[in-house]
């Protein structure tokens, strides 16, 4: 396939068969969140369980209900390690344009790089694999994103793989360029993320180096020595010598004769 494909799981996390088929075809799972009942709570328990270690993302159904609470409850899913990275951040599909602006604003406040995608770039593949063939020949655009949904997704995926093979044979130039383009876009997005990480890491290392350089170890030790030993009054030190003599650690003669050995072995 020459576009990004996702398997839209509308029943929360129930359909194991379709999910496994999509994952085997390297197709991330998209969970539909519609704000009803405890659907997000159940999804949280699923994704944060041992069975939730697979690439996924979220789709938000816009009911005209644009409460911030609906976005807040998605944050814990967006910071899940297996949340998918798209080309411009973590993809969040919004069906209906109502809450798009609010979603972008809210997640920016949480410093989460979220790529809000809506109907302009997202297409539902409803008429099977043949529809994708016609799309590739007539109106292909590398930025388009496709969603698969419903029962029998295993067959649709197999058909899509066959259609991709047909396109390779019948339209070799298109297939090569489209595949290269998809690969380049993917690599570019990864390099962009790596660059962001390296910039952040570099800034951390620079800060640590600056903080470390503020330690003047020699100065610290000299100050410590002065404060602990030099700054003491002379009588205090002399009293200490007498205690050492009383403890038997030092000879009495060494108190007034500098030629004798001070401390006993």
């Amino acid at each position: 396939m020459f576009n990004r494909f996702y398997y839209l799981q509308e029943d929360g996390c129930g359909d194991e068969t379709g999910r496994q088929a999509a994952l085997q075809a390297n197709m991330p799972i998209m969970h539909l969140v519609d704000g009803r009942g405890d659907s997000v709570d159940r999804l949280l328990l699923h994704q944060y369980g041992a069975e939730g270690n697979y690439p996924f993302c979220l789709a938000l159904r816009d009911h005209g209900d644009d409460r911030v609470e609906r976005l807040q409850e998605l944050v814990l899913l967006l910071v899940h390690p297996f949340y998918e990275w798209g080309e411009g951040g973590k993809p969040l599909f919004v069906f209906g344009a109502g809450c798009r602006g609010q979603a972008e604003e809210y997640f920016a406040g949480q410093r989460l790089e979220v790529e809000v995608l809506s109907g302009e770039t997202v297409r539902l593949l409803e008429a099977g694999a043949g529809e994708y063939y016609r799309y590739c020949v007539n109106e292909y655009s590398p930025g388009d994103v496709f969603l698969l949904r419903g029962a029998g997704v295993e067959k649709v995926i197999r058909d899509l793989q066959a259609v991709t093979e047909d396109l390779r044979l019948e339209h070799p130039v298109f297939s090569r360029l489209a595949a290269e383009n998809a690969d380049i876009r993917k690599r570019l997005a990864r390099m962009d993320r790596d660059n962001g990480r390296l910039v952040q890491e570099n800034s951390i290392l620079r800060e640590l180096a600056e903080l470390s350089s503020k330690h003047d170890e020699v100065d610290y030790i000299l100050r410590f020595y002065k404060n602990e030993y030099e700054i003491l009054p002379l009588w205090y030190k002399r009293f200490g010598h007498i205690i050492k003599v009383l403890q038997g650690k030092r000879s009495f003669r060494s108190l007034y004769d500098k030629k004798v050995k001070k401390y006993k072995d």
Binding site: E69, L112, H215
Partner: protein
């Protein structure tokens, strides 16, 4: 979700070695706990950390240093295991600006030593007024009176005290923000998505408060006041 006696909320900032260190400490403990971990995206460029039965990961950009990470993990705890009675807040502290950074970390982490952990949970069970348990020698009090504090964060702290109705008494806090607190106090102080709301107000990056106050450093103090403002005690172990 299993029931746990305690949860460890650990913010990992510097190196993944810190996570192994934490796992070793937990393996030495008799009582089972749940470990919630927050780290930065750059730490996992190669392979993603899986969720397991007793270990949950989040990956988040650096917002509010360890405080932002701990707030995120609190929200996760409230969602996954809200009935866990005690919560340990920890992070991989490296105070490079201080000579004593390493000793401080060892001291602060000592609350996870098996004997101390048993003593702490027993003390919580015995004393209903105990809100926070911390390592010995880390309780601070910067309050000078008249709404002023002996820190660059003084003005911001005053604002937050008003906003959260923190009374000007019992303003002691645990320096280093590593302690064990009753989870119910955190839940009450951050109802709904309160922890995430506070997180959104914190500064990005590895902010310091040497010259100017920051909300991040204010919340270092405020997290202790979650307990003291509700009339609970802090005790050293």
């Amino acid at each position: 979700m299993d029931r746990y006696r305690y949860a460890i909320l650990y913010h990992n900032y510097y190196s993944l070695d810190g996570i192994d260190e934490m796992r070793q400490k937990i393996s030495a403990l008799d009582t089972p706990g749940i470990l919630l971990l927050c780290s930065l995206p750059d730490k996992f460029a190669g392979s993603l950390p899986p969720q397991t039965a007793h270990e949950k990961f989040v990956i988040s950009p650096n917002l509010g240093k360890d405080i932002g990470g701990k707030l995120l993990l609190m929200q996760l705890l409230f969602s996954l295991a809200p009935e866990t009675p005690y919560t340990f807040l920890l992070h991989d502290k490296r105070s490079y600006q201080k000579q004593s950074g390493r000793w401080e970390k060892e001291g602060l982490f000592s609350i996870l030593e098996p004997e101390k952990l048993s003593a702490i949970t027993a003390a919580f069970d015995d004393d209903p007024n105990l809100g926070i348990a911390c390592a010995s020698g880390y309780i601070r009090n910067e309050y000078l009176g008249d709404g002023r504090f002996d820190t660059t964060n003084s003005d911001l702290l005053g604002e937050l005290m008003k906003q959260y109705a923190i009374p000007a008494r019992h303003l002691r806090f645990v320096g280093g923000t590593m302690f064990c607190i009753r989870t119910a106090l955190l839940r009450d102080f951050f109802p709904g998505y309160g922890a995430l709301e506070v997180r959104a107000t914190l500064e990005s990056g590895n902010v310091l408060d040497h010259e100017h106050g920051t909300r991040t450093h204010c919340w270092e103090r405020m997290l202790s006041w979650v307990a003291t403002s509700a009339g609970y005690k802090i005790k050293e172990f």
